[in-house]
Amino acid sequence: MPPLTARRLVLVLAGLAAALLLAIVLCASIGSSGYTPFDLFRLNPKAALPATAGGEVEGIRADPSLAADMILRVRLPRVLIAVLAGAALAAAGVVFQGILRNPLADPYILGISGGAALGFITVSAAGFGGAVAALPLRGTAAFAGSIATVGLLVLLSRAHGRVGTDPMILNGVVLNTVYLALIMLVQTIVGTTRLHGVMLWMVGNIPVEGYGVIGGLTGVLVAGIIGLTALGRNLNLIAAGEEVARGLGVEVERTRLVAILFASLITAAVVSVTGLIGFAGLIVPHAARLLFGPDHRLLIPAAAILGGLFLLLADTAARLVLAPTELPVGVLTAICGGPFFIWLYRARRRKVAFDA
């Protein structure tokens, strides 16, 4: 890649943002009810009826206020949450891969998402605020769970002052399994009726939330992603080697700590709304690196937008494949992401073998 210039940064991000906007409009137009956003602007309800009404009662379709309800209260919130979740997971994936110096890192595989889920499910089970704890509380518990997991991972995977790539993946898998068991334990103790949403959280599902939740989530994620992007050059230097970064004047420990805090924060914020969506934080960063190069100052925001696009398309597909039954999006991302991980792992091993 040519070196990063302000021009390239603006062009790439503007292009991606335009594509995302287009996708948001398109995906908000598709659904089993058959409404499109254009129905909002139809003056004559009767004239709005297309020949194929998709199995719906004509009278209902003709009502613009119902179209508005469907699109603004159901589809658009879901579309926006999918975009936000995808953006955060991809940005967090990029950052974890960089600071843990591990190309296989992903918030889901490493158990960072799982730690967040254990945090908020435990809090919910403890009975704060009814069956499901209020979102800020859930979010805080999720944040605590994800931060604790990153700390554990680094501690467990360190040997002779170095944090190994393969040990970290193994430890992440084990932590994930333990978290899953603990979540099931909590669920069994409390009884399934109080935590009826748990199963959906375990596979990752895009819920329909109010605009208050969406606004709060947007605030946290935008702040987090901008904060991480601001660390971009230091993350580049750390990718070139810790000693190199320190020699170039980077305060490595502080950069790493701040990056872990931000990345865990946005992961936890997403997990507390959508549950565990796997592999989005692995696939998208690698695709973004291929497309836009490894410079974190462009890579973090570009991967975020690309991640939003990816999860939006995945969730739209999840809504449609078995329509009118809706599939949790985590099912789709795991089916695509699992094989991708295996391919990546094998490719990397082959490369290591050649280098040696």
Partner: protein
């Protein structure tokens, strides 16, 4: 009579031991380097060469004593200010992702840039100048991983040069390189030191290269300076027996005039 210039880099009674160990590696080590010198830092395995280089680079801090850079204690430098005066090429060079050669060299501009600034025209020029110093002009857009080991080492030296430092420290810059590439690296360092006025300190295992190109060699042994001075008079069979525990022949190359060492047998097996 003019005052003699203060040394640009100086270790004063440095004491250091690794965390969790009893034995001090250095117990009051002192050494001074003047501006423009090309110092070969030699010594057997375990003599503390790399540790000493890391102390000089500010990557580790002495337990007592101090390192002084351009007349100020290194501890008083902010990391960024230090990186504008002193550059270090460490041995470890595992690059995580596929950055291009130019991107890698531009990283050397970081200490000159504001926290959020992108590299500008002046930085690109500094990076291209550094690349041409090491003879890699044509390879700027290649991924670093596609370069040969010799080229890669030169790219890492170019990154250090892009910092526009007054002092350049290198840890075994020619490890893993064949004859031609070893000579290339030392030719480049020699030119930087004599023509560019750069102060160079290079840790080396290669006595012959250090003796031929260095204006001075410093031999570390058991955490002390065992010998220090002009390679032409310093490198003797007696020194090699004492420090490297090796019986060796020392000769003089009739063409370059440099002393050279042919090791014969170790003193013990």
């Amino acid at each position: 009579m003019p005052e003699p210039a203060a040394p640009i880099l100086e270790a004063r009674s440095v004491v250091f031991r690794h965390a969790g160990t009893e034995k001090a590696i250095f117990d009051g080590l002192s050494m001074a380097v003047d501006a423009g010198e090309f110092v070969g830092l030699l010594g057997p395995n375990g003599a503390g060469k790399t540790t000493f280089l890391r102390l000089l680079a500010g990557l580790a801090s002495p337990l007592s004593g101090e390192i002084r850079l351009a007349g100020r204690s290194l501890a008083d430098y902010r990391p960024r200010d230090r990186a504008r005066t002193l550059a270090c090429v460490p041995q470890e060079s595992a690059l995580l992702f596929d950055f291009s050669v130019l991107e890698v060299v531009l990283m050397g501009r970081a200490p000159h840039l504001g926290a959020l600034a992108l590299e500008g025209h002046a930085d690109l020029e500094a990076a291209r100048a550094a690349l041409s110093e090491v003879g890699l002009d044509g390879l700027a857009d290649r991924p670093l991983s596609a370069l040969s080991s010799g080229e890669r080492q030169r790219a890492l030296i170019a990154r250090a040069l892009a910092q526009q430092p007054r002092v350049l420290l290198l840890d075994e810059p020619t490890a893993f390189l064949d004859l031609k590439h070893r000579l290339q690296i030392y030719e480049i360092l020699k030119r930087l030191s004599t023509q560019g006025g750069l102060t160079v300190v290079a840790v080396s295992h290669d006595l012959n290269l250090a003796a031929r190109y260095g204006s001075r060699i410093v031999v570390l042994h058991h955490g002390r300076v065992a010998a220090d001075g002009d390679p032409a008079t310093l490198v003797t069979p007696a020194l090699l027996r004492e420090v490297y525990e090796t019986d060796a022949m020392v000769g003089r190359d009739p063409v370059t005039g440099a002393v050279y060492v042919v090791p014969r047998t170790p003193l013990s097996l």
